[in-house]
């Protein structure tokens, strides 16, 4: 026992000694060859690999490597072929005809045909399927498969987001699932797919291994095996990356800006990538409450918040201000719009117009009531920090702000659903399809619906309805540019920032596009490769 004691003592007191790793690896070897293993880290375990039933990002990340959709987004976020080689929209814009490629196979060798597509559509629209995503597909009034390579859907009414919904529906194999209960099938842990990879094995709570598929419908990837280790803690992920045990992880701004530059050796063998992220953070007003029903008050607060400062403080500069709910650089983003520039003067003028006066103790007062409110947000470090920065800027012009941080499920059910809040700091995704009907249309204000800020603008309602029915891309673009402009002017939310997605990748992985295309670095992951000299010895096969 004394020996154990003696063993532990030095462990505690000798912590900071360091030794040099004397391995010399030439990361400039660019010789192309197929093979090797890529190990990455995931923070959470996938719940299951049928993405229409799973709601979590870990599941869809793995599932998307196994399954295909009818069509997909290319690197510039335009539609391109996947299982379907082409698609045609009818003159009346109500019917879409997909032509499916010939000679496709599931990874078990059974042909993949339009029957599988039809089966998948039937499955997601079946009321007994436990999916939250069914509603988009129930809009299809008729689906037909005149032959093995044609799939035709007809909508009662024009539905512009249709193509996007077909790009996100992963096609499942009919021959396996036909007589299974989709809600409990073993298939969700042992799927058969059609994409670049197939499932090797899945060790619960520890790792998921994907192996190159020999008959993927889009061809063969260069890397033989993808191992995703489940490591919930990002500091542990970072240590594994530092030790060279994993090749790829998502990092945060502090790691990107401070930690990697401070470790030259680690930086030498790691490449850092940034790409436009998939979401933005905003400050949303409860428009049904005073004083936020007054547009001038909302605009004033918008002017009083220094977005550059928030981006610098919270994201260490690794983000962009935005002025519409679309990804900068895509066609839906209106380039003529500019965010509200920081100007406390303009803010004060607007508030004076709205009837506020400065009181003796430097607070804004109207009808004897001070301008004060509570910002609520969920447990998210970045959002908490954002709220604090905003609090300070608003206090400077005489607005009293308090902050409250709440656990997610309580946050949604106690505050957002019943509309019991003043101001929230939250995020929305920068969706690839421009349709924002669910978020901004005045009919979407019921409990549990997404227009919980209570935005109600007849002009925007009309634009959103029109945009939903217009399948012509150029006309659609105009509609949404106008919508974004109106939304920015009304300022029902203050756009704060869209953060970058940050990834650290070991330099042994070659072929990653930099700078990242709009679709992000993972877009061409099938073309990544690992030169022979840089592979891990013990795992090469």
């Amino acid at each position: 026992m004394k020996q154990i004691f003696l063993l532990i003592l030095p462990l505690i007191f000798l912590i900071s000694c360091s030794k040099n790793n004397s391995e010399v690896i030439d990361y400039n070897d660019n010789n192309f060859s197929s093979g090797g293993v890529l190990i990455n880290a995931m923070s959470a375990e996938p719940s299951n690999l049928i993405s229409m039933i799973a709601g979590d990002s870990a599941s869809s990340a793995i599932a998307s490597k196994i399954f295909n959709s009818l069509i997909r987004y290319d690197e510039n976020l335009n539609f391109t072929s996947d299982i379907a080689e082409s698609w045609k929209i009818s003159k009346d814009q109500k019917t879409i005809t997909f032509k499916i490629k010939k000679g496709l196979e599931w990874s078990d060798g059974i042909p993949l045909t339009s029957a599988d597509v039809y089966f998948t559509w039937k499955l997601i629209t079946n009321p007994n399927t436990r999916t939250p995503y069914g509603s988009d597909y129930t809009l299809v009034s008729q689906a037909r498969t005149p032959d093995e390579h044609t799939f035709i859907v007809t909508y009662d009414d024009n539905y512009a987001p249709a193509l996007d919904t077909w790009a996100s529906l992963e096609i499942l194999p009919k021959h396996i699932l036909e007589n299974e209960d989709i809600n409990s099938t073993y298939f969700s842990r042992k799927p058969t797919g059609s994409n670049y990879y197939k499932l090797g094995d899945w060790v619960s709570g520890q790792q998921v291994n994907l192996i190159k598929s020999e008959n993927g419908v889009l061809g063969k990837p260069y890397i033989n095996k993808l191992t995703s280790r489940i490591i919930p803690d990002t500091s542990s992920q970072f240590l594994e990356l530092s030790a060279g045990n994993i090749d790829l992880m998502n990092i945060n701004p502090i790691q990107f800006k401070r930690v990697f530059p401070a470790k030259p050796k680690l930086k030498n063998r790691t490449a850092l990538y940034k790409e436009m992220g998939n979401g933005y953070t905003y400050l949303g007003f409860n428009l049904k409450r005073k004083p936020f029903n007054d547009k001038r008050v909302r605009q004033a607060i918008n002017y009083a918040i220094n977005k550059e400062e928030v981006i610098k403080g919270v994201l260490l500069g690794l983000g962009e201000p935005i002025s519409s709910p679309y990804k900068p650089g895509t066609r839906w983003n209106n380039p003529s719009l500019k965010p509200y520039a920081y100007s406390p003067k303009k803010a004060l003028n607007l508030l004076k117009e709205a009837g506020y006066k400065m009181s003796a103790d430097n607070f804004l007062v109207k009808d004897g009531k001070a301008l004060e409110f509570e910002i609520i947000t969920n447990q998210n470090k970045q959002r908490e920090m954002t709220a604090v920065l905003i609090q300070r800027r608003l206090q400077e012009i005489g607005i009293k702000v308090s902050i409250r941080v709440i656990e997610w499920a309580s946050f949604v059910n106690r505050f957002i659903k019943p509309g019991d809040f003043d101001v929230v700091v939250l995020g929305w995704s920068l969706s690839l399809d421009p349709d924002q009907f669910n978020i901004w249309h005045s009919s979407q204000q019921g409990p549990g619906q997404f227009n919980f800020v209570g935005y109600d603008n007849k002009k925007v309602d009309q634009l959103l309805e029109k945009g939903r029915r217009e399948l012509d891309l150029d006309k659609r673009e105009k509609i949404y540019h106008e919508f974004s402009q109106q939304l920015l002017d009304d300022s029902p939310i203050v756009y704060l920032y869209a953060g970058y997605g940050l990834t650290a990748v070991n330099k042994r992985i070659k072929g990653i596009k930099s700078p990242a295309p709009p679709a992000g670095i993972y877009h061409n992951s099938q073309d990544w490769y690992i030169p022979k000299s840089l592979r891990r010895n013990e795992l090469t096969n």
């Binding site: 154990i4 912590i15 995503y133 409990s184 969700s188 619960s204 499920a409 949604v412 995704s429 669910n438």
Partner: protein
């Protein structure tokens, strides 16, 4: 008793705002409120809480712990077989052995190291040795576990590459022989077990030390010494036996703790144990899993108390005689 415990935990859980639909795709504009209402109906979450409790109790009577909401209907407790013969493992079935193993090793080490440290401290009361032991166990107790864990991981995993940093197995452990796999597992467990051991040392060592001091000052020890027994014999045969008697209660009471894991340690070391399972289920409002773990926990608490009582009676004749009276 069990029904009371389960009733209370069931209601507390359901009083917390939210259900499985509020985390699963809660803020995805593609998921409509109607679809979510439909999900609630499929999970019986739209029924009054008392009805839900009735349904749960009905299943419990048949020892059916149900299926998890969040992880695609995986059974909560034990594996099931589907029509094709595929075995779907239960959530607790997979997490429990790992946690049990870590905690058993941990408790064994805590008790053995503590008894040694406590005895040394007591025998050499107020000496340098005693003081440094006390200092050490208090430092070990006070150091935040996650912080020390990260430092040790960095030192033994990144700088020196002696030990694996996280996980339970090496990636290629399936190619090892059985003994190789066992040592691989042990290697992965060194850090997590030592971290969990360090914080537990303080309580038990002090317990032993004080118990020992009490006993050493009693008359029968003086008698033993005056009989001319050597010091070793006095301490180990006469004093220690009496001093560690109260530990039986502690062992019994730590039985329910055996199935609980530490969320922080499990997250840092990427160990899929019970702590993480329970924590995630609470966040996801995965009621069947939460209730399953709580029920097993309360059964074990009852059993643990019973074992402690019996063990005490078995070890201490005074109590046995008291019982007979």
């Amino acid at each position: 008793m069990l029904i009371g415990i389960s009733l209370i935990s069931f209601f507390i859980m359901h009083l917390a705002p939210g259900d499985i639909t509020s985390s699963e795709a809660a803020f995805n504009p593609k998921a409509s409120e109607e679809s979510r209402q439909k999900l609630r109906e499929l999970y019986n979450l739209d029924k009054p809480v008392i009805t839900q409790y009735g349904l749960w109790l009905k299943r419990m009577v048949e020892l059916d712990f149900g299926n998890s909401f969040a992880s695609h209907q995986r059974p909560v407790l034990w594996e099931t077989k589907d029509s094709k013969g595929n075995v779907i493992k239960g959530l607790i079935q997979e997490s429990l052995p790992i946690t049990l193993l870590i905690n058993l090793i941990g408790i064994f080490l805590i008790f053995s190291v503590s008894i040694v440290l406590g005895t040394i401290s007591a025998v050499k009361q107020n000496s340098i040795v005693d003081k440094s032991i006390t200092f050490f166990i208090f430092v070990a107790f006070a150091i935040p576990g996650f912080w020390l864990a990260l430092l040790l991981m960095y030192w033994t995993g990144v700088v020196n590459q002696w030990l694996p940093i996280s996980g339970l197995h090496s990636l290629d452990y399936k190619s090892f022989s059985e003994i190789g796999q066992f040592f691989d597992l042990l290697k992965h467990l060194i850090l997590p077990v030592s971290i969990s051991m360090l914080s537990g040392l303080a309580g038990i060592s002090l317990y032993v030390r004080n118990g020992m001091l009490d006993v050493l000052h009693q008359d029968f020890i003086t008698t033993a010494r005056s009989k001319g027994l050597n010091e070793k014999n006095v301490i180990f045969t006469h004093a220690l036996k009496n001093a560690i008697l109260p530990l039986i209660t502690i062992v019994g009471l730590s039985i329910p703790g055996l199935i609980g894991g530490s969320v922080i340690a499990e997250s840092i070391f990427a160990i899929p144990g019970m702590g993480k399972l329970f924590y995630d289920s609470v966040l996801m409002r995965d009621f069947p899993v939460i209730m399953g773990i709580l029920t097993i926990g309360s059964v074990l608490t009852l059993i643990g108390t019973l074992i402690a009582d019996i063990g005490y009676a078995w070890a201490d004749p005074r109590i046995r005689k008291g019982l007979v009276k």
